[in-house]
């Protein structure tokens, strides 16, 4: 297998809030390989955004990396402290597309200037050359009449068009890794499909590694090669997109898939996860999902499960995979997915 371009090991991130310490990331590890698309799935508060923000040094001022390492090209980003260090990474090596295109752009500057700024700062381009390249990039992200659009302000663009501009800014310096943080959540389904198509085609063209953060499993099925599922600051399961969708192993992944209305039976109650995610201010013993898992084992409350390997590409942090564990059947919807997959295989 090829070498990972980014390797995160046992990352712990803490925040200080009103005199209390919140552990947002509780030991998460992830490898990124060149030119792949990894989707990070989880609900709000699971730490998916915070996790990726640490790779860019973009944590809020009250947060810090407590332990663990983030290796990129032989350098440990977890040790970076100064803005000067981060500027060699942010935008250049790793770029980010944010959720809400309405707030990610500067309303007082033209769209053209906001893209051109990146080229001038990072590539030292000037004047006509920078302008010509900016117009070219606008065209590449699917904006009609880029010459005319160059001089317009963000308010003259629709939501989908603004997201295209944000993507243009992010890819302007050819980053190695592009993180898309819920890039289509604020958009309509038809526009969402177009933006996904754009991201996919840009990835093919630029060979960039894509990290896609979302809570929408439909979008994950569309974009991802591999999937990492996060819950309460941990990655609890990862695998190829087919392994996660057709053969999930962690009870939280089961629950997440089962609660999708697309997989529900009309007129019958939808599978729902009881309770709410755990409080990250207190220390969590055992499996963080245990209190919401009706089939939790005794050990789930006592001891944190390690990763158990299902296949070379698929692992899950659940005691159910321990050889000593009793056999627990997945919910009906998951069995239906498995059966469906067997149907595809034949």
């Amino acid at each position: 297998m090829t070498e990972p371009i980014l390797s995160v090991r046992d990352l712990v991130v803490k925040f200080s809030l009103r005199g209390q310490i919140l552990t947002a990331i509780r030991g998460a590890s992830l490898d990124l390989y060149p030119a792949e698309t990894v989707a990070i799935v989880g609900e709000s508060g699971s730490g998916k955004s915070v996790f990726t923000k640490t790779w860019l040094g973009m944590l809020d001022a009250n947060g810090w990396v407590d332990s663990g390492s983030i290796l990129l090209e032989g350098k440990d980003l977890a040790r970076y402290r100064t803005e000067r260090e981060w500027l060699t990474i942010r935008g250049k090596k790793i770029a980010m597309v944010f959720q809400d295109p309405m707030t990610a752009l500067n309303p007082l500057r033209t769209v053209g200037m906001q893209i051109q700024e990146v080229l001038e700062l990072h590539h030292g381009m000037r004047g006509e050359e920078a302008k010509a390249r900016t117009i070219e990039i606008l065209g590449e992200v699917g904006i009609d009449m880029p010459e005319a659009r160059y001089d317009q302000y963000p308010h003259e663009f629709s939501g989908g068009m603004r997201q295209r501009v944000v993507i243009a800014i992010a890819v302007a310096c050819n980053p190695k890794i592009l993180i898309c943080d819920e890039p289509t959540t604020a958009l309509d389904v038809t526009i969402q499909a177009q933006i996904l198509e754009l991201i996919r085609s840009l990835q093919k063209k630029l060979g960039v590694t894509l990290v896609y953060i979302t809570h929408d499993l439909g979008v994950v099925a569309n974009v991802a090669d591999r999937v990492a599922v996060m819950y309460a600051g941990e990655i609890i399961e990862y695998g190829t997109v087919e392994e996660i969708f057709y053969d999930p192993r962690h009870p939280y992944t089961w629950a997440l898939l089962s609660s999708l209305p697309q997989l529900g039976v009309k007129g019958q109650p939808l599978y729902s996860i009881a309770g709410t995610p755990p409080n990250l201010f207190t220390e969590i013993n055992g499996d963080a999902f245990a209190p919401r898992n009706p089939k939790a084992l005794k050990i789930d409350y006592v001891k944190r499960p390690p990763f158990f390997q299902v296949s070379p590409t698929h692992s899950a942090k659940t005691w159910l995979l321990d050889p000593r564990a009793p056999k627990v059947e997945p919910p009906e919807t998951i069995k239906a997915l498995q059966a469906k997959y067997e149907g595809y295989a034949q």
Binding site: E43, S44, G159, D188, V189, T190, I191, Q192, A193, Q194, E197, H215, D216, L217, G218, V219, V220, A221, N222, A224, V241, E242, F245, Y246, A255, L256, L257, S259, L260, P261, Q262, L263, G264, K266, P269, L270, Y271, S272, I273, A274, T276, P277, L337, K340, Y344
Partner: protein, 313 residues
């Protein structure tokens, strides 16, 4: 049961809503929309941002005045100027659940007041004891504890806050509830809880819902019939499965083709259609609202009607 025998609870007749800008031509947010909602059903209204779906909901709860047409509640007109008695009845019988439970609850009021505010407005309780009992009952019905009445909204999670929003509507003993994207801002694991709660309440109380959403997967799961709205015009209406299986209007087809499917094999080879409004030639042949198959309506001109009828077989 055929539709003619069913009791109509809400009827929109040629509903038009306009917003006036300064000196500019008024903007038609809703343009000549007519449909009926039957008692006990969930009517889904789908469309993109700015299509006018929320405006229709707000017109029914009488927040937005009409520029034309009328709204009937159980056969009686409730739009425009209406008698005081009817006004009181409608205030009570038609309630709304809002999209964002973080923004729709008064941060400075306790849950007790938030839930009973509607009762205060119409004097809907005998004495203090009666009011407290009603609040407790409403909270229990949405799966919260009566003790929560003395707390403030910020002490609750998003899902719990949406439950408070539902309790606030239920306490009025409504018959019809406009649900404006009630689960869009909730987390995936909480959505199912709230959807199930809404279905249970519908069954036990015989409620009728207008379910406004841009999430077509949720609408397919919860709605009995669905109307598709595009730029203020209703373009298609049918029973849910009929609409998802046999969409006629090109906009509906584009919209349905864009729904993400949580199945990598299907999703990765999915073909997304793009809707181009210029595919309709309405210069001579004007479109009208026609029934292609029983209960399945579409906005089309004569040429398109022939085409759709051929598709229907």
């Amino acid at each position: 049961m055929t539709n003619t025998e069913r009791e109509v609870i809400i009827e929109l007749k040629n509903l038009t809503v306009e917003f006036k800008g300064k000196g500019r031509k008024p903007f038609k947010a809703v343009d000549d929309v007519s449909f009926r909602i039957y008692k006990g059903e969930t009517f889904g209204l789908v469309g993109e941002t700015g299509s006018g779906k929320t405006t229709i909901g707000r017109a029914i709860v009488r927040i937005n005045p009409l520029a034309g047409g009328e709204i009937l509640f159980k056969g009686r007109r409730i739009s425009g100027v209406i008698p005081k008695e009817l006004d009181r009845e409608v205030t009570r019988k038609i309630q709304m659940i809002f999209q964002d439970p973080m923004a729709s609850l008064n941060e400075r009021a306790k849950v007790d007041y938030i839930v009973s505010e509607g009762l205060y407005n119409i004097g809907g309780f005998k004495d203090e004891q009666d009011r407290v009992a009603k609040v407790s009952r409403a909270l229990l019905e949405v799966g919260l504890l009566p003790e929560f009445a003395s707390r403030f909204p910020h002490e609750f999670s998003g899902g719990q806050r949406q439950r408070i929003g539902i309790a606030r509507a239920l306490i009025m003993e409504p018959e019809f509830i406009v649900c404006d994207e009630p689960i869009s801002s909730l987390d995936v694991s909480i959505r199912a809880q709230v959807l199930n709660l809404m279905s249970d309440l519908q069954k036990t109380k015989g409620l009728t819902y207008l379910f406004i959403s841009h999430d077509l997967s949720v609408v397919r799961f919860i709605a009995d019939r669905v109307g598709v709205i595009y730029k203020g015009k209703l373009v298609e209406l049918a029973e849910t499965e009929e609409l998802f299986e046999h969409p006629y209007h090109p906009y509906t087809r584009a919209l349905l083709s864009a729904i993400p499917i949580p199945d990598p094999r299907l999703e990765k080879k999915k073909k997304v259609l793009v809707y181009d409004p210029s595919c309709h030639d309405y210069s001579q042949d004007k479109p009208r609202w026609v029934e292609i198959t029983p209960g399945h309506f579409v906005l089309a001109n004569e040429a398109e009607i022939r085409q759709y009828q051929a598709m229907a077989g």
